[in-house]
Amino acid sequence: MALIILAACNQPGNSQPALVQLDPARIGHYGFGSVAKADEIAGWNIDIRPDGKGLPEGQGSVEDGEWIYEAQCAECHGSFGEGVGRFPVLAGGMDSLRDFRPTKTIGSYWPYTSTLYDYIYRAMPFTQPQSLSVDETYAVTAYVLYLNDLVGDDFELNQHNLANIPLPNRAGFTRDPRPDVANIRCMENCRDPAKIKILSETLPSVQQDYTSGIEPASTKANAGQSIYTQACKLCHESGLAGAPVHGEKDQWETRIAQGLDKLVSRAITGFTGDSGVMPPKGGFTQLSDEEIRLAVTYMVESVP
């Protein structure tokens, strides 16, 4: 086993860990597994460092990147990198880091260009990670740099110039100085009771609006899904109170056969059937009839 060297003094206030010193004589001691071959490593060796180490041979232009970006990225990130809904904003936000609500983008916050290439190749597009080729990744990276006004529209990015493109906030990062606060363990008369004021409070009856931060849905299907999640899912996901389970074909077929209008009307006014009970609007009577229709439509359309 590895040689354990205990920290000289494990006194309180000194959380010095017990360090392990590795014994070179024990390399391959167990011999389990197989030695990794170069071609096996190559398929997974995707990481890029700020100094450009790891960048594969290739290139891509802002012009090529625009086409790929519009087709594969803009749906979530917006045509100008402004972000759709709560998906990340990629551009803008310059000099906003001291604002009450900073906008942290590649241009305003990120320290290294390499991170952009690495992340796009590793994890994007969101629904198809690692589907972009090397050249496509260079092109999209170049286009996002262009959206941040960091390169011109005729720019071409490659493995040689990428690490030399500095991002504006490169010097904005510091190492961890914690512990950075020093409270004391006072037990009595620690503060003046008269000076205690409640600065903020949530409602004690747990009325938090779960949807307050969601952007208005842009399509009917999304709106229906959103209402479903807020109001219908509690019962229709589990079948509680005899509710037909969302997406379960055999539970929906006979209902759908009765027509959407009938289902919507029963959902609005309430209905007691042989197998369960649908309260009027599922109990969420603040919802409009149209919102109920959207939610029912969503559930009906979810049946395979």
Partner: protein, 438 residues
């Protein structure tokens, strides 16, 4: 009717209804749901309202007068149907979708210090991958003498070790920097769990591959769609980092990284890469997206701290809390959880007057390094409004700070590493709210 009330109400209906014979169940549901739209449903209508006197003394309950189900009715077991309200929950507005999102541990319903595997909070960056362990490989390469590829079977042949350690997302409580926002304990502190983790010390694997002289950092990378990656300093890798394949005695849950993950005890959960596929040894950090754009702490002056690994000393009262309002005046057992990424918890003090005076709590669990520690204190509540707080001190003598102290140094935009003393306001009617006080 608020979401929580609705939730509890439906759970009560579900659990009570499930216990009834089919014929009675239908009538029960109709009766219960008739009340559904009524605003009269309040905290007084808890599950006790559903207790049938026929099952209470002096009567002999129905389950005592009949046979139960046989062995292996549930070969892997499951909680009682009456516990169906104990579950992970999410807050949809926090994230753009549920694929790259988070759910929260139901801390208010848990006991002791071990978090059941089934309700450990989730954090995904590209959803939950379903991985065939026979096809999963862990590659260790880079600045090593002998790069290797391990199957799960290979990995489990190495000497095994187990440790109980907490796991916490550095954004736990991050929604509270500007003011009280989350209306219950599950959401204010629920990106937190504590499990027994079993696996191979990372140092054992590094000795097996042999690291080169200038090796200083290790890139850990996941097999999920995000290929989640973090740079880990060699000192941590050689200290207590562990390559984990089991949790609380069973295989890792898929949500926790099945079949194998990294655990960096006491450090921000994001570094403990799940679905681990690759460890690459190098001489410098990689500055990947999750350690630059995210998981860096923005200060008021516009600078940002990077590689803020340690989860500092923290604590929270779990009873009472908004989910568990007090029903009775008189003797009240206040309890909660404390933890520190720097080691063991040394003291926890409790205040019921907003920090004017404090009383030391006693520990009611084992006190382990970098693990949740449970504390409790008896208090005579006279029914007056109270401001209940806990304040933990760890073995390095670090005292959990106030919001004021944290904000004075860091401002309100740092998102991560909020470990301030938390305050619950207890109302005379027993309800509890999340407050921040001056």
């Amino acid at each position: 009717m608020g979401d929580k009330q609705l939730d509890e109400w439906l759970q009560s209906i579900a659990s009570e209804g499930a216990a009834l014979p089919v014929t009675e169940r239908r009538g029960f549901l109709k009766q219960a749901l008739t009340l559904f739209g009524s605003a009269a449903v309040g905290s007084s209508l808890g599950t006790s309202a559903f207790a049938d006197a026929q099952n209470l003394p002096p009567n002999v309950p129905v389950w005592t007068r009949s046979l139960g189900s046989g062995v292996v009715s549930n070969p892997y077991g499951k909680p009682s149907d009456f516990e169906s309200h104990v579950k992970r929950r999410t807050v949809d507005w926090l994230t753009a979708d549920r694929i790259a999102s988070v759910s929260f541990t139901p801390l208010g319903d848990l006991k002791g210090i071990i978090t059941p595997s089934a309700v450990v909070f989730e954090r995904y960056h590209a959803g939950l991958p379903q991985i065939n362990p026979h096809e999963h490989r862990l590659m260790i390469h880079g600045m090593v003498e002998r790069p290797i590829i391990l199957s799960m079977e290979d990995l489990m042949r190495f000497p095994s070790t187990s440790m109980i350690r907490f796991l916490e997302c550095p954004a736990n409580g991050g929604m509270e920097w500007r003011g009280a926002q989350m209306d219950r304990l599950q959401f204010s502190h629920g990106m937190l769990a504590c499990c027994e983790w079993t696996g191979v010390m990372l140092s054992t694997l590094l000795e097996e591959v042999g690291i080169k002289k200038d090796a200083r950092w290790i890139l850990a990378e996941g097999a999920d769609g995000a290929h989640m990656s973090r740079s880990i300093p060699m000192a941590k890798a050689l200290d207590d980092a562990i390559i984990v394949y089991a949790q609380n005695g069973e295989a890792l849950r898929p949500e926790q990284g099945y079949p194998v993950r990294l655990i960096n005890p006491g450090w921000e959960g994001n570094t403990s890469i799940k679905w681990l596929r690759r460890l690459k040894v190098g001489d410098k950090p990689w500055h990947h997206r999750e350690e630059t754009s995210k998981y860096t702490d923005l200060m008021a002056d516009g600078s940002a701290r990077e590689f803020t690994f340690v989860q500092e000393c923290n604590s929270v009262v779990t009873c009472p809390c908004p989910e568990k309002p007090e029903k009775n005046k008189g003797k009240l057992w206040i309890e909660g959880l404390a933890w520190s990424g720097r080691g063991k918890i040394k003291h926890v003090d409790i205040s019921v007057n907003g920090g004017v005076s404090w009383r030391p709590a006693s520990f009611t669990s084992q006190v382990l390094p970098k693990a949740l520690t449970r504390f409790g204190l008896e208090w005579d509540w006279d029914g007056s409004p109270a401001l209940i707080q806990s304040r933990a001190v760890d073995e390095t003598a670090y005292v959990q700070p106030t919001y004021g102290q944290l904000r004075a140094v860091r401002g309100t935009n740092s998102i991560y590493h909020k470990n301030a003393i938390h305050t619950w306001k207890l109302y005379p009617d027993g309800k509890v709210s999340n407050v921040q006080i001056s």
